[in-house]
């Protein structure tokens, strides 16, 4: 079986227009959360959002202007990762290079725009025909639009697969790409998670689910409060993150250094409740990932938690982590939820958080749970409250992504060379 290396990473997130900026701002404890624009706040005055730090279209060639916003984010993040990996376009072994994308809700901007336009035409006193819809609406909003755009832009002719598993979408994409390379089906893959649904229609739907954070009394930016006694839910974000994964042999032939080794992937399903998590299968996902990596729990120094700041989700995840890693007094594991700063990017969350964890591993600087002022006694682990921790020795990391629908994914990476 092949060793699978990360040779490039990228992101466009609420924290920054690239991954180094996003990581630096996470270490600063910067919370990129704010009030919603007028077209949303007029219906939901208390709703909070974490928009991307930059408009994706401004970072792309004009030929991509017509793509859905999620696909534009994907292209930006993939471009950064491929550039860092010095990965060629149209590679000679293009059929051995795949594209693996995770996305929760494909085409939200296109769909919302379509309904807006329809509504305007209906109300135009016959001046516009509501039936006139842009002919590329379907290819723009199909879930695999981002994978198609990356494959076509870079000439990768291996599988271009899209995984839609809510909050675990891009973590699954990493895991499946990891297996495809490890087991010899591919030499390399670009993995992307993307999400862009800060639209009125989407936000109304999320608000109806009653999982969104309420504004913090004094500082709305600090409203997402994972593992805190006063947590009230999550804040939706948008953006993308990307990784280039390749076999050690392939990277070696290109003389490309590894940024880390993906070494463990575990996945499971609760088979219980649509939204309420259950601990047993979260534990199993983490244990699978450790076994896959050939590591013990004590070999992991940092864990980027799913940590959405929902009342039950954080308690159940704490219980699961405690089961796998031991109680605080018996463990040196440091944990944080970076969602406190960048919000919840749904389909893009898994890969963004895994990328931040890999950067933490390589730098020895661990991003905090930036808003953890008053820990919930039920969340009794070391959740790195308020401030980043520097000078840490981190040999291996884990990242958790637990999705609506009961899908659980855990990923493990270790330093390379070890």
């Amino acid at each position: 079986m092949a060793q699978v290396l990360i040779t490039g990473m990228g992101a466009i997130s609420p924290l920054g227009a690239d991954l180094p900026t996003s990581f630096a701002r996470a270490l600063e404890g910067h919370c990129a959360i704010g009030t919603a624009p007028a077209n949303i706040s007029k219906w939901l005055p208390d709703i909070l959002l974490a928009p991307a730090a930059s408009e994706p279209a401004a970072l792309l060639d004009n030929k991509h202007a017509g793509l859905d916003r999620a696909s534009q984010f994907a292209l930006v993040a993939a471009g950064e990762a491929l550039q860092q990996a010095n990965f060629p376009a149209q590679p000679e072994n293009s059929r051995r290079v795949g594209v693996f994308v995770g996305i929760g809700f494909g085409g939200a901007h296109t769909l919302d725009g379509l309904y807006d336009r329809f509504q305007a035409a209906v109300n135009s006193n016959g001046k516009r025909n509501p039936a006139m819809v842009h002919p590329l609406s379907v290819p723009r909003m199909m879930a695999n639009a981002a994978a198609a755009a990356i494959s076509m832009s870079h000439g990768f002719k291996g599988p271009s697969n899209t995984y839609s598993i809510a909050c675990a979408s891009s973590a699954t994409a990493i895991g499946e790409a990891f297996r495809a390379i490890r087991d010899g089906y591919l030499d390399a893959a670009v993995v992307v998670g993307c999400e862009a649904m800060l639209t009125p229609g989407s936000i109304l739907a999320w608000n109806a689910l009653r999982v969104m954070a309420k504004p913090h009394a004094t500082d709305p930016a600090r409203s997402c409060r994972p593992f805190s006694q006063d947590r009230s839910g999550f804040v939706l974000g948008e953006g993308a993150a990307a990784m280039v994964l390749e076999s050690a042999a392939h990277a070696g032939r290109r003389q490309q250094a590894g940024l880390g080794e993906v070494c463990g992937y575990g996945c499971s399903s609760d088979a219980a409740h649509l939204t309420a998590p259950s601990s047993a299968e979260q534990v199993y996902a983490m244990q699978q990932a450790l076994a896959d990596a050939g590591l013990q729990a004590s070999d992991i120094q940092y864990l980027n938690a799913h940590g959405t700041a929902t009342p039950s989700g954080d308690v159940v995840e704490t219980e699961s982590i405690r089961t796998v890693f031991g109680a605080r007094e018996n463990s040196t594991l440091a944990i944080s939820s970076t969602k406190s700063m960048h919000g919840h990017l749904i389909g893009a969350s898994g890969i963004l958080e895994f990328a931040l964890a890999v950067m933490a591993m390589n730098s020895g600087s661990l991003p905090p749970t930036a808003t953890l002022e008053t820990p919930d006694p039920q969340c009794d682990l070391d959740f790195i409250p308020l401030h980043a921790r520097h000078g840490c020795t981190v040999n291996a990391i884990m990242s958790n992504s637990f999705a609506f629908g009961g899908s659980n994914v855990s990923l493990v990476a270790r330093r390379y060379p070890s």
Binding site: N62, K63, A65, G66, S124, K127, R128, N129, A131, M132, H134, P135, L136, P139
Partner: protein, 92 residues
């Protein structure tokens, strides 16, 4: 107006060389438009005139001027022989 809308779309959105349109014998096939490009281009007009133009696969076999004349004829046929103000419709 019809010609300007289509030319502007092809130049500004599809990146076609403006000098191409100086040739009175320009063929649609010389514009290098695939089937999706063609329906996108026609949508620029359809959105303004409020109906779907028939059978876009005919156009690649035509000259550019012939295509414009054909589209104009279709619009007039849909509007009792009149040509609507496309720019005004587009702003509404």
């Amino acid at each position: 107006m019809l010609e300007e809308i289509i030319k502007n779309y092809l130049i500004n959105t599809k990146g076609k060389d403006a000098a191409l349109f100086d040739d009175p014998d320009l063929q649609v096939s010389a514009l290098g438009l695939d089937s999706l490009d063609m329906v996108e281009m026609l949508f620029e007009i359809e959105d303004r005139c409020g109906f779907q133009l028939p059978d876009p696969t005919r156009y690649p076999k035509m000259g550019f001027a012939e295509m414009l004349a054909d589209i104009e004829a279709a619009i007039r046929a849909h509007n009792n022989g009149e040509m609507p103000d496309l720019s005004l419709e587009a702003e509404q």
